[in-house]
Subunit: 129 residues, 6 copies
């Protein structure tokens, strides 16, 4: 299992990232993903800054859609941790059980038809090129 | 490459599905995916009926969100045909270049952090269980 | 694209493998996969010997079942070359269009339900442990 | 972990699917996959009906071959739940330990050569196009 | 295919990134990946800055090892573009044909044993936990 | 979970492989991967002989680089067992925490840009063909 670095044991560079996370998200503590990433402070810092920018509430997509896209990828990859944490984030952003059910149906169906397209070696239609 | 079955060469069971597709979507012809699937009429019929139900405009998610979720999976799987066809469908449903840019950023980031979570073997936080 | 090494340009170690392939399979020439692997003779030799053993007609599974399993994996991974070459091998071993249609339906369905099981984080039933 | 819906707590639409599963398969109860899918009755119903059709004992492929193909995909995707449940189903359909050993050898080998074909960017031979 | 944005058609934000890439790498022009990413300047900028940091010649791993790791992932994912471009980068950093042959053998073997571990559901040894 | 075959319960063919593993690696016992593979002696023997050859200390790549490449693939595939065992092997071969942090950053970044290249359908630059 991952080595998890707690705030009290962290060096100043890590602490600064942890503080930015808890402040930005109004949380009492960072979750395990960030505590595990703290073993490599440069990766922790870059990943957090990228995530903060990509998942910013400002943009062309609303926060709920963003979290659902994140979840669709995580389900496809079978990342249990990510399904758990981004599932929680999506529900917090407003994903209802009915939305989750439809998301799962779409993700499953897309994985199915992706493989049909691979297996049948379907050529791209001229209008889609 | 795929064997593609055209409407004029298709048997009645396949023609009925092709007609339902072109009518439902108001298109002059089905795209290559369906022509390739027609080699196995039972799979053609079941896949179309499932897709029609899953991507139905009625539901908790709007058609644009549905197409973007489909696209997020297809990009993760590297299905070129599916990226092409569902990219076109998403643009038709209202996906702007800015939305597409954000979608790609999220899909890429999710694939990145999914692998970080795998590699670091991060335990699921108690609040996400 | 791959560098392809032809028999006439190959060194003796590579030639010996090529000869074993064409003799075992009663073919006039090896296919491109082997010509590409010949850039690293040790990998060529090991891969061929492993494949010859794994796909041997002697064993608990018949040659057609073996080729269809190979194909199921190749479709899941989206390996176009492998779908092409093992599709040909499966047809040669007796795979009919109806079998191919059912194989594709199963592979697609399995990819779909695999993702449903991931997303729903289904616990393994006690009787399956 | 998944929310699992038991028969006694299910609404009539879900109960009808559960009954069709237990009757078709002659089982005392449905397994966890179906209980988890029951959170979205439309997906439960569609998935079961698709699976029943795809895995039907009538067809060009026999039930054992079908289960082994399902298993080959599930191993490739690393779906632990699916390996467990379809492994049990395959054994019930007649998969011996020797067949399982050969199946695993083929799945592993196919994953290996799929990546060799990717990395070497092998062009498809003219006879396979 | 991708829309590719050339330097002469790019806005100042994109031009600045292109200039940093060509200067840092001492190249006459950026490659297609960056021209394609330029459709979304924020993603272009963040991706380049992350890549520049991650692939920096300063660090615990030397540039050749870094490029080979990048290549190992790209082969596993079957990303043809990435295999092409990072293959070139690895050769430029000193990867010999013998190294490339061994890299491919390891990547293929790892993909094989990864699937064996999945299928056999091997429990982690106490000493590896 | 896997059936694990211990040395004392193994038949001579399996014992011979186990002895070669413990001797070659100077270990008191084989790890669970080999005990699980022993259910199919032919696969055990072939896998071990292939692995011994591929991961041989003689060659163009040093043992540490080899183990890190193995690890990069295992992280990409999300193989928990393989991350655990090859992580231990890499640390034994000299991988420092800083190297591991950089390896993870590269693997994550490569997975990210692989998906960007897929989604944007970037054409291969002429100089990389």
């Amino acid at each position: 299992m991952a080595e998890l670095i707690e705030y009290v044991d962290a060096d100043p560079e890590v602490r600064a990232v942890f503080e930015d996370i808890t402040t930005s998200r109004n949380l009492p503590d960072v979750n395990n993903f960030w505590k595990a990433l703290a073993v490599h402070p440069a990766t922790l810092k870059r990943t957090w800054e990228s995530l903060k920018e990509v998942m910013s509430p400002d943009g062309a997509l609303d926060p709920l859609t963003k979290e659902m896209l994140y979840l669709a990828v995580s389900v496809t990859n079978g990342c249990n941790y990510c399904i758990s944490s981004h599932g929680a984030a999506a529900r917090k952003a407003g994903m209802t059980p009915a939305m989750w059910g439809e998301l799962m149906a779409i993700v499953a169906m897309a994985n199915e038809t992706n493989k049909l397209a691979f297996g049948l070696r379907v050529p791209v239609d001229p209008q889609f090129k």
